[in-house]
Amino acid sequence: MRSAFRGEFIGQGEAGDKHMIRIEARPQPSAVMAYATPVLAVVLTMIFGGVLFAALGKAPLQAIATIFWEPIFGEFAFFYRPQLLIKGAPLVLIAIGLALGFRAGIWNIGAEGQYIVGAICGAGAGLAFYPAESVLIFPLMVLAGALGGWAWAMIPAVLKVKFGTNEILVSLMLVYVAEQLLASMSLGLLKNPEGFGFPGSRNLQQYPSAHNAEIIAGTGMHWGVVAALIAVIFAYVLLTRHRLGFAIRVTGEAPRAAKFGGVNPGRLVLFCLGVSGLLAGLAGMFEVAGPSGQISIDFNVGYGFTAIIVAFLGRLNPLGIVAAGLLMALTYIGGDIAQSQLGLPAAAIQVFQGMLLFFLLALDLLTNYRVRFGAAEVA
């Protein structure tokens, strides 16, 4: 997406501003800067985050250390380290799908909705068999979750292909629809009949055939983590080795060239939105069957939106997304610790994550443009 704008205005007759600082488009995005900017953005976020924490009356260094150090190396790290996988897996799973679309200039903003619908379908498929036990139930739930997320993403995809409707707005509207659907499900159709009238479904953790249990106990390694790893490999191979991945990259960087090259834009929209919906649905399904356990009104915690930050922080690159997903998971866990130990408000972490995206986008300037100091030369 970034390179679509690059160099568009080269060759303009107008003389540049006679400012001391000039910005020149690079002929090629800088490879060094592409790797350096995410690191720089994290450092800047830590600094400004520290300022924010200080403004909230917390010791800034202590807060930063609590967020980034405590979960991995602190006294209770044995408890927090598995959380890294549990929170990182859905983020990576969703972000991988989003990145495919973002690369092609297809903006699925509604992953949160697809995540919810995937969870509802997955849990619904499992609960339909309650209390029967069979090894087939869990694979069926996986299938249902993936299909649910896929179908929810197909709504904006088909509307875009058929009618040219803006996929950003439609996919986002569907998040709010999905949230209402979630409320309706946890109060109605999927409500636990033995739940004493409380909203929320049966707990899938207590239903062995449907439980997405840890594969190796105490590691946080559940099937969602496996799925995330498979998705990363799939996306990596697709983007670097497959014709379709090439079509995605060309469409993002030069849409006209892609059209002349025989890329079918409609099919690409269906594929990118479909895959991202499918992965988001899977993430929701693994979450509801494992760490969360049940469908409830406040089941979703914004992974679908945070995954957008993860996708950008990972530079829309599958391997980068793994690192970014783990880092973001760290801020969630560290944020929880800082909340209980230092009384840091939960919203402060949200601001912190938003800040990270800001710095990342601002610093992208250094990748695509060269900043020159000194007066403009006469060409």
């Binding site: 409707t165 938003g354 995206l357």
Partner: protein
């Protein structure tokens, strides 16, 4: 179910009030988009305006000061977007999303000690006696000042875009930024001003929700109104008067479903609450054929290389 509990006159009056936040946010975004910038951060600016307005109104005791603060709050947040897209030349879609995510976090951080507080009440019927006229009184004269201010901003925007040199320059920048630049117009400066105007309007719209519509502060209380406003600009084909029409349509649906919830219709509350979003999608589908009217440079980054 008791539909007779719904008073049609009060319903229409309430629809107009329900439309006001959408109207304010949408007219601001319309100006931004006519200048060729797509700011997806409307939701973030609205919620920031909502919390700024609420905090200041509670502390000063004056809703008016609250609204001014909301406009400033929205504009300050939009300045971040202006910096990202006009100075750092970042992608507008990503920057707008960042603004929304950041605004949602920032607002809940700012507002956490204000949950459950009642704001000072704005004067309900500033126009006085005419509001007592049967039927047309409540519908036309019975509103608070912000409703009329919203209408005034729409009319003003229409007039400025259509009849003034300033409006012409703004549209030129939006239609073709290279040509406007070649003519000597400061593309970035004009766009930055448009973005600030959009931020201020979104802020006002947000404060209307937190100070008058609800009136209290809860996290994420704008609940997608900013996104509906974005859809509305497309719906309106970038024309101010059609924004007004669209806002009343969406305000109407929002209000109607609330009234139906209150009247105890057999449809579950959740499905009624979905309706504004579903209607938005349907309208977007019907009107997406009309997209040729979008400003020519919408969403494209401008950089004059020397």
């Amino acid at each position: 179910m008791d539909l007779s509990a719904i008073n049609p006159i009060l319903l229409i009056a309430a629809m107009i009030a329900a439309a006001t936040p959408i109207l304010l946010a949408a007219i601001g975004e319309l100006v931004v988009e006519r200048a060729g910038v797509l700011n997806l951060g409307v939701e973030g600016m609205m919620i920031t305006g909502a919390v700024c307005g609420f905090i200041i109104a509670v502390n000063t005791g004056s809703p008016t000061v609250g609204f001014v603060a909301a406009a400033i709050g929205g504009a300050v947040l939009s300045l971040l977007f202006a910096f990202l897209t006009q100075v750092a030349l970042a992608n507008q879609v990503a920057s707008g999303l960042a603004l929304t995510l950041f605004g949602l976090g920032l607002s809940s951080l700012m507002g956490q000690s204000y949950v459950g507080i009642k704001p000072p009440r704005a004067e309900a019927t500033p126009l006085g006696p005419p509001a007592d006229i049967p039927v047309i009184g409540p519908i036309i004269f019975g509103h608070d000042l912000m409703v009329y201010l919203g209408l005034g901003i729409v009319a003003g925007t229409w007039a400025v875009l259509k009849f003034t040199r300033m409006g012409l320059v703004l549209r030129a920048v939006g239609e073709n930024h290279d040509a406007a630049h070649a003519l000597g117009y400061k593309v970035k400066r004009i766009r930055t001003l448009a973005i600030l105007f959009g931020g201020a309007c979104a802020g006002l719209g947000g404060a209307y929700i937190s100070l008058i519509r609800v009136p209290q502060w809860t996290e994420g209380m704008t609940a997608g109104v900013g996104w509906i406003a974005l859809a509305l600009v497309v719906f309106a084909s970038w024309k101010p008067w059609r924004v007004l029409l669209g806002a009343y349509l969406f305000g109407g649906i929002t209000q109607l479903q609330l009234n139906l919830q209150g009247a105890g219709v057999a449809i579950p509350v959740e499905y009624l609450a979905m309706s504004p979003y579903i209607v938005t999608i349907i309208v977007l589908v019907i009107l997406s054929a009309d997209k040729a009217r979008a400003p020519g440079s919408l969403g494209r980054t401008f950089h004059a290389s020397g």
